[in-house]
Amino acid sequence: MQNNNTLISLRNISVEFDGQKVLDRISLDISDKEFVTLLGPSGCGKTTTLRIIGGFVDPTEGDIFFDGKKINGLPPHKRQVNTVFQRYALFPHLNVYENVEFGLKINKIPEEERRKRVKEMLALVNLRGFELRRVGNLSGGQQQRVAIARALVNHPRVLLLDEPLGALDLKLRKEMQIELKRIQKQLEITFLYVTHDQEEALTMSDRVVVMRDGEILQIGSPTDIYNEPVNAYVADFIGESNIIDGIMREDYFVEFAGKMLPCTDSGFGKNMPVDVVIRPEDWEISEDGKGQFNGVVESTIFKGVHFENIVDAGNIKFMVHTTQEHQPGSRIGLSIIPDYIHIMHKMGKDETLELGALAADSLLTDEEEAASEEE
């Protein structure tokens, strides 16, 4: 993945806090002008990764390169990166203008240029006219913008953002997502963004890095991650999924929930146990009896754009998104085309147990159940 555009390069980075491994041999390359998102649940090490690049955490092992130079141990004030902190960390004793000006003043930029750059930056984040306001009197969204302006005014090579939209309400968050993407495009700065919100990651990023328990599970474009998750965990984390135990009977044929269905995957080997992932929006709905699976709608929840139904197909329950309402108790048929059946290698046993209730429900197909009873 190393190319001549690489700006930041993490090589086998491990971090331990009090003997506890927070990051486990992580390697990651970030290109110039790229928008990369670190995505994962809390405690997965994404913020630690960000703080290593910011210079607030030293890796226990491994090297970090910036523009080809090793920067292990270099203090934060000597790095060409700036950070937008999780809770903004604005200076309460300074007003909006002084907050944004702070970095320029420290770096002894002449007064005139300072004024020009602060003005530009406040215009960029739509905060013109707020110069003299105290930061304590601003709304969350406005504080957020000040924090972004304060970091960007220094013209960093990389902007690190640590869950910057976490404290905002949904509508504002969506607006800021678009805003951030616009700013990133306009200034052509590398953004490294940390979030646990998969939708946010998919909306803004050029590349998404999915992390769990201090490891990187998958790196790829948002569409890659969504359409071709490497395992059931990623599939489950990125959007909702039905994760079903299956067996690859032969190339292009998978058996799950007691049915043998055609699929587009091959090369797994005969009778290999696999995870079958089906997105709830990929089901085709038909009349009862006409689907590959037929079942009773057990519950239905209106989600705004769609209805989220749980369909009991006898030995298994599926999550199904529909645009039309189906009354609980009514019977429908479900079909899936081969393209939408995603086959994945099984993860370790303990990992499987962490998955959602739906997956747990469907752990055993009839055949396996019978087999395990015999043992």
Binding site: G54, F56, F85, L90, P92, F102, G103
Partner: protein
């Protein structure tokens, strides 16, 4: 209306034990032994100007030393985990559980010419040094006794400064000293001013410390006032006048420290 009723006991207390005594002191200060009005007492207190200046000078030194010791200490404590913060604050408060006189007596025995410190130094072939009955000993006593009053307000301000602010400063290019100058100092200013007042005011009016560690070889304002009321120089009128001068000086000092405060955060001080 209800707030007035609940405030009544405190109001009564304030009138009985603060306003009336202050008025009495003022009455004494402006009258002679016969009870007639006079400014003579204030004129006479001018004779003691050197004592007053010396008191202020020593207290200022003690306050400055307290600030220099307490500031880094308070910062270090405030960055520790909650548990070790509690322990360290406990340790700082611990000496205060002992009687003030006892603490000062302890320093007497330590500093004496054949006291513990001189004996230890004697083993090393040094001294003996003349430590007790010096101005240095008085300043030491002030610092020792009033240091917690500097640490506590500083600590309580600093513990509210989030670590992310320090990180943000360093992220924006601040070296450690820049962070100190541009972020920590301005944000901890309220603690600094409170600490200065809390140390300076009792230091400038103390008489026990100077008597015990200064050996009565030189006088501070506190000694002077005490002598006029209880000592052989018995002259309550002059004592009251000097007290008023002292009060005036302290008020000026508080007003000056208040000038450094953020205009929006000025606390309800008298001036």
């Amino acid at each position: 209306m209800r707030s007035r009723i609940t405030a009544a006991p405190y109001l009564l207390w304030a009138v009985l034990f603060i306003v009336i005594p202050l008025v009495l002191v003022a009455v004494f200060a402006f009258t002679n032994t016969g009870g007639g009005f006079t400014l003579e007492n204030f004129k006479n207190s001018a004779d003691y100007a050197p004592v007053i200046f010396n008191s202020i000078w020593l207290s200022m030194i003690a306050t400055a030393i307290c600030l220099v010791i307490a500031y880094p200490l308070a910062y270090v404590i405030s960055r520790r985990s909650a548990g070790s913060q509690r322990t360290m604050i406990m340790l700082i408060m611990l000496p205060m559980w002992m009687n003030f006189l006892l603490r000062t007596y302890a320093w007497m025995t330590l500093l004496e010419n054949n006291g513990l410190i001189n004996k230890l130094l004697g083993f090393l072939g040094l001294g003996p040094f003349e430590m007790i009955n010096t101005q240095g000993a008085v300043v030491l006593g002030m610092v020792y006794n009033y240091l917690p009053f500097m640490i506590l307000p500083l600590y309580s301000v600093m513990v509210k400064i989030e670590n992310s602010l320090v990180e943000a400063a360093s992220d924006l290019g601040c070296s450690a000293s820049d962070t100190m100058k541009h972020v920590l100092l301005p944000l901890s200013m309220p603690g600094v001013t409170t600490g200065i007042i809390m140390v300076f005011v009792p230091s400038v009016s103390t008489f026990v410390i100077s008597r015990m560690l200064g050996g009565g070889s030189f006088m501070l304002i506190g000694d002077l006032i005490e002598m006029q009321f209880l000592g052989n120089a018995y002259n309550p009128n002059l004592g009251a006048a000097i007290s008023m001068v002292l009060m005036f000086i302290i008020l000026i000092c508080m007003a000056l420290t208040n000038l450094f405060k953020d205009p929006e955060e000025k606390e309800g001080l008298l001036l």
